[in-house]
């Protein structure tokens, strides 16, 4: 507990050091490729103007209980305040949690099963009423109701000691605060009781579900039409599926918000929905639009255009995302049950080909191990010469094949998701490179929607149909070792079907995950993730392919732009407009 406090103090210090103003050396005004990565581009404190966003699709929901898109979590900080939040700062600081609505990060009990947060005093909703711990509790309660809010994450459903509680809409308590897993002894204190030790509670506390919701204003599924703001902006108008406008929330007091790094520069934010993706790119390039809100990068057509034009390229940023494209080596399928045969695949695979399949260096970096570089604790672990011989090491692969007892190679299948052309290109590239050492791959594709339910993610099917290699990808909900690793390497999450762990079963890894869950000291915990990473790589259970990147475009009229490592896209609470 002491260490946790010391840690948050240390973070506060480091924030003060890089508190993004124009005098900071972590900023630049010269337009250049990647000028918005790891530093602030066009730093400014000038307020005013309108920031124009566009979305090629529709939001899953604007309701904080019902949203699961990274861009939505990035943007929602404009109209809501979570207990903790990813710091609005460039570089690695953006992947660090800081307190937002809470006064400090959570204080765990010794067994890491009980977590206490103090709510800041003086935070107000858009109607002037004071935010209390009960509003937060109510917000978490309603997020548990997956019948009403099916889109949001289920972390609170899985980790809170619910004791059968399902929904505030079915609550017999007069104040609808019947959930025993959350206590609110006074208006400023909120205590979470978990059903298991979980050291990463602060990551749950940054989920939009902790944005306070006044019970009296809750309209259930209709709440998304007008979310009651606790942040710097509030809804001025909202036409679902078409557009919405945010204006300043006059009850937002920056004094109550010292840590998050919010700038709140523009006077207005306008978001258009369901705009054609290519149209968005063209408007960005012409200056008729400020931000493509999805933050997944420009369309392939624009990518070619931007990369081939120096002036346009200077306005682009290649943002690292907490996502890995990889291929699982299925130990259930002979002869891949032999570790030497798996190592042969890892050596022989053409890593450059993998990268090319995902668009070359703009699509991502060749991955040497699992954890993407933006995740705190990251270490580069290159056991299979991905860095030194990226085209594949035929000699080493042949040695391993001999050790495996298959000196002439073997035949197996490789699966990919039919709707993903990049995965098809990967399969073809692997087929070519593995053929050089005699490993013959038969390519099989399966529909994306059923890939985990019926095919690759169903161990019985994968085994019966001899899917030796299974192409897949995984992105963390937030840049943290647990969020990234647990779903893809913990053998205990493997179910009869619908798996995201396609077959990594290593007892040592499970033990390390348990250890990490009980380690409340953040620095200590972040040493465990690379250990898990290394263990999986030593076991040759996965062929890491590409650490993903997205090519973002920043029009020149924007100020204070940078990529937030916590979201892998531009930070939407700091951007201003040139006046």
């Amino acid at each position: 507990m002491v260490s946790a406090i010391a840690l948050s103090a240390a973070i506060a210090l480091s924030l003060a050091a890089c508190g993004g103003n124009s005098s900071s050396n972590k900023s630049t005004t010269k337009a250049a490729f990647n000028a918005g990565v790891n530093k602030v581009f066009n730093a400014s404190d000038t307020k005013g103007g309108t920031l124009r966003f566009a979305n090629s699709g529709d939001w899953d929901s604007l309701d904080p209980a019902d949203t699961y898109y990274g861009y939505s979590w990035d943007f929602i900080r404009n109209y809501g305040r979570t207990l903790t939040v990813f710091k609005a700062a460039p570089g690695a600081a953006g992947a660090q949690l800081v307190p937002d609505l809470a006064e400090s990060l959570g204080k765990p009990s010794a067994d890491a099963k009980t977590w206490t947060y103090k709510i800041r005093k003086g935070v107000k909703f858009e109607d002037g009423t004071v935010v209390t711990s009960k509003d937060v509790k109510y917000a978490v309660e309603r997020s548990l109701d997956k019948d009403t809010f099916p889109n949001g994450p289920t972390y609170f459903n899985d980790f809170l000691d619910l004791q059968g509680y399902t929904s505030p809409y079915k609550d017999t308590d007069p104040n609808k605060l019947g959930l025993k897993a959350i206590e609110t002894p006074d208006d400023n204190t909120i205590i979470f009781h978990l059903n298991q030790p979980f050291s990463g509670m602060d990551y749950f506390a940054q989920l939009p579900a902790t944005i306070p919701v006044p019970a009296a204003k809750d309209t259930g599924t209709k709440y998304k039409e007008h979310v009651v703001s606790s942040g710097p902006y509030m809804f001025q108008s909202n036409q679902l599926g078409k557009s919405f406008t945010l204006a300043r929330n006059k009850y937002y007091d920056p004094k109550t918000d010292p840590d998050s790094g919010r700038k709140a520069l523009p006077d207005k934010m306008v978001v258009e929905l369901n705009v054609n993706a290519d149209d968005i790119d063209n408007r960005l390039i012409s200056g008729a639009l400020d931000i493509a809100i999805e933050g997944t990068g420009v369309q392939p057509a624009s990518q070619g255009k931007i990369l081939n034009d120096a002036a346009l390229k200077a306005k682009a940023d290649s943002a690292v995302i907490a996502r890995l494209w990889f291929t699982v080596l299925n130990a259930d399928v002979a002869p891949l049950d032999n570790i030497h045969c798996r190592k042969a695949v890892l050596y022989a695979a053409d890593k450059t080909g993998y990268q090319r399949a995902y668009g070359g260096s703009t699509g991502g970096e060749i991955a040497t191990n699992l954890l993407p570089p933006v995740i705190p604790g990251f270490q580069k672990i290159d056991l299979y010469e991905a860095g030194t011989k990226p085209d594949g090491d035929t000699a080493k692969a042949k040695q391993e094949l001999a050790a495996c007892g298959q000196p002439n190679g073997f035949s197996t299948n490789i699966s990919y998701r039919a709707e993903r052309p990049k995965e098809k290109a990967t399969a073809e590239a692997l087929q070519q490179s593995l053929a050089k050492v005699g490993i013959k791959l038969t390519i099989k594709n399966y529909p994306l929607a059923d890939y985990t339910k019926l095919y690759a993610g169903k161990p019985d099917y994968a085994k019966a149909n001899k899917l030796g290699l299974m192409i897949y990808g995984w992105g963390a909900d937030w840049p943290d070792g647990f969020g990234f690793l647990q779903q893809i390497v913990d053998s205990r999450v493997i179910r009869p079907a619908g798996n995201t762990n396609l077959g990594v079963k290593i007892p040592a890894v499970d033990a390390l995950i348990d250890k990490a869950l009980k380690t409340t000291d953040q620095a200590e915990r972040e040493k465990i993730w690379p250990e898990i990473d290394r263990t999986v790589m030593e076991n040759a259970s996965m062929l890491p392919g590409v650490w993903a990147k997205g090519l973002l475009f920043r029009p020149s009229n924007l100020t204070n732009v940078f990529v937030n490592d916590g979201f892998g896209m531009y930070d939407y609470v700091t951007i201003g407009v040139k006046q």
Binding site: Q299, A301, Q303, R356, A357, G360, A425, E428, Q432, I443
Partner: protein
């Protein structure tokens, strides 16, 4: 079926006396007449020429590719821009070594892939057509000649087959094909399944036409006379009816082939055809859709290949129909 007197352009210079005196008017067979008509139809002949050319290309694919291209599945990273993943050079990387350009990302030779793709398309189209025509002809003749309850059953069967959602069925069946069955494995099995699906479900189109023709033939004088002379059913069918059905069968087969080329391309486009890296025209177009904005040339060569093939077969088929059955003009 008597042959109408032919007065061709070159004959008009001959004097009527010569015809009378010579007395050597040769009785021309149906085939000869049709061939004479076809010879004068330049469009149909061009179609036939292209069809022949395509068949030759498909048969000689390995040699052509050896001479002018690269192995169809070989990667050529150097011809692709590593930043944009698009082939370097104009028109999708067209050069002396890459006649149709290269594929984005992996730089495979589009010329070789289009040439190899023709094998798949034509093989499937021909065999599927053969299957349809054989089933269709037999069922049509039987239904038309015997009539009565046989006709009723076969006709209703045709209705059922015609109402069948063929594309959906093909997608479903191709999706569940195992790796090995009937002594075939991998892509060979998938080719067989696709031939079966296309061939087996397209026979009613041929069957209906043949049934109609048989119905009218059955009542014709020469059939009546054969019957009155004591000929039995099988003899009449084989000697009197079938020879007169050769023309419609031939025409419908020729016109069914391009339809089947398109159907195979559609299946490959939807990803239920052959497995990658096997080159198919539909599969190439499907891949090209992801690149059409940056590298539209990728789509051109397989698209043109399908276009030319279908057009050539259609022109030839139309010409053949006109030649064999001038009344249908």
């Amino acid at each position: 079926m008597t042959a109408p007197l032919e007065v061709s352009g070159s004959d008009t210079t001959a004097t009527p006396e010569a015809v009378l005196q010579g007395g050597d008017i040769v009785g021309r067979s149906l085939g000869q007449i049709a061939w004479r008509r076809l010879k004068r139809d330049k469009v149909a002949l061009t179609g036939a020429g292209v069809v022949l050319f395509l068949i030759l290309v498909a048969i000689l694919a390995p040699w052509i590719v050896k001479l002018l291209g690269h192995p169809p599945n070989e990667f050529h990273y150097p011809v692709v821009n590593a930043d944009t993943q698009v082939p370097s050079g104009k028109y999708g990387g067209v050069s002396r070594h890459f006649l149709f350009g290269a594929e984005p990302v992996n730089g495979r030779d589009l010329f070789s892939r289009v040439i190899y793709g023709s094998r798949i398309s034509l093989l499937i189209a021909f065999l599927a057509t053969l299957l349809s025509v054989v089933i269709g002809a037999v069922m049509g003749v039987v239904a038309g000649y015997f009539g009565g309850w046989v006709d009723t059953i076969i006709s209703r069967l045709m209705d059922i087959f015609l109402a069948f959602p063929l594309l959906l069925f093909a997608i479903a069946l191709a999706g569940v094909v195992p790796d090995q069955a009937f002594g075939l494995a991998g892509n060979n099995l998938r080719i067989a399944v696709i031939i079966f699906i296309i061939g087996f479900f397209n026979w009613p189109y041929v069957g209906r036409v043949i049934r109609g023709q048989t119905l009218s033939l059955r009542e014709r004088e020469f059939v009546e006379s054969a019957r009155s002379l004591g000929a039995r059913g099988p003899y009449i069918l084989a000697r009197e009816v079938l020879p007169n059905l050769v023309a419609p069968i031939l025409v419908y087969a020729t016109l069914l082939i391009p339809t089947n080329v398109l159907f195979e391309a559609a299946l490959s486009f939807l990803g239920v055809g052959l497995r990658p890296p096997q080159a198919t025209w539909g599969g190439m177009i499907s891949d090209a859709t992801h690149w059409y904005q940056i590298d539209p040339w990728f789509m051109v060569s397989p698209g043109l290949a399908i276009f030319v093939t279908v057009l050539a077969f259609n022109l030839f088929g139309d010409g053949l129909r006109d030649a064999l059955d001038p009344r249908a003009r």
